[in-house]
Amino acid sequence: MVKLDQINISNDGLTKFFSPIEAAILRALWSEGEMTTSELTGKTNIPLTSVAGTLDRLVKAGYTTRRTETVNGRVRYVYEPVLSEEEAASEITTKILDSLVQAFGPLAVENFSKYSDKK
């Protein structure tokens, strides 16, 4: 879920917060920086038919931007991540902490400090 309105605690890694295809695209963009559509399908090994709609969604949700390039009469998209992996991690963490505080108030904050003491 690009909008982070659904979190699946039991899923692994990024798929807790994103769909598997979204997660694969974001991971690829974080490691490569700029990528064309065909580089993305090559790197993630997911066919274009599944990737195309997800790319539109990621752009709309503001996780990636894309620009159009014309090279030798061929038109192509070049994708770029909007947030770095660190920035995305901090955005997600803030959102989740906010929702915990909203749900449990001071109890949540108390547990945060216990958690950081333990670490």
Binding site: T37, S38, L48, T49, V51, A52, G53, L55, D56, R66, T68, T70, G73, R74, V75, R76, Y77
Partner: protein, 224 residues
Amino acid sequence: MNIFGEITCYGQCLRSWAPIVAFIVIISLTSVAASLMLKNPKKRLQTFAFAQVSGLTGVALTYYLMNCSEMLSMYLFFAYVAISTILIFGTLLYYDRLMIKRLEAKPAGSILKWTQEYVDKLTSARVYYFDSAIPKAFAAGRSIFISIGLLEILDDDELKAVLAHESWHIRHNSRMPFLSRLALMAFSSSSEPELEEQADRFAAKVAGSAALFSARNKIDKVFI
């Protein structure tokens, strides 16, 4: 008698039926408004058809229930016919312009000059591109729409086949009577298989069947 007098008389004549007629009129107006806001063209036309039916029911009901002034019923009826006709024909005439606005489409000639030149040879239509990674092409009114996703995956020959296919639709559309086009827009979700076949035959003749075949293989069939 002025119009307010007519309305008062109208309310009196309808007596206990007045709230029901008013209710039907409100439903009709709400669904017209809703149909203008809906994004899905099929749903929009269904809502519009519903508005038409409820509007007509309201007019018919007042006509039968009226037992004094019949003039207001006539005014209402003529106003209704005028407004709905303008809306129906307007939607049909400006459908492509609505799509251009909604998709924020831009002339395809500005990124690939030859696409517009190629279509100019086949029919009179404008070619537009829009921002989407999903490979998609369609014709509406006198405009052809292609997504950037389509430009990414097709080579020039395949793109020519797709443009020829859509050009055929435009040639065919412009020969089709107004009402059949309306019926097609309202009642068929995707195009008729028979029309698609004819469009493909034309595309194969103009751009070669090999190009058409490989374009078809690259794009999900529902998209063109």
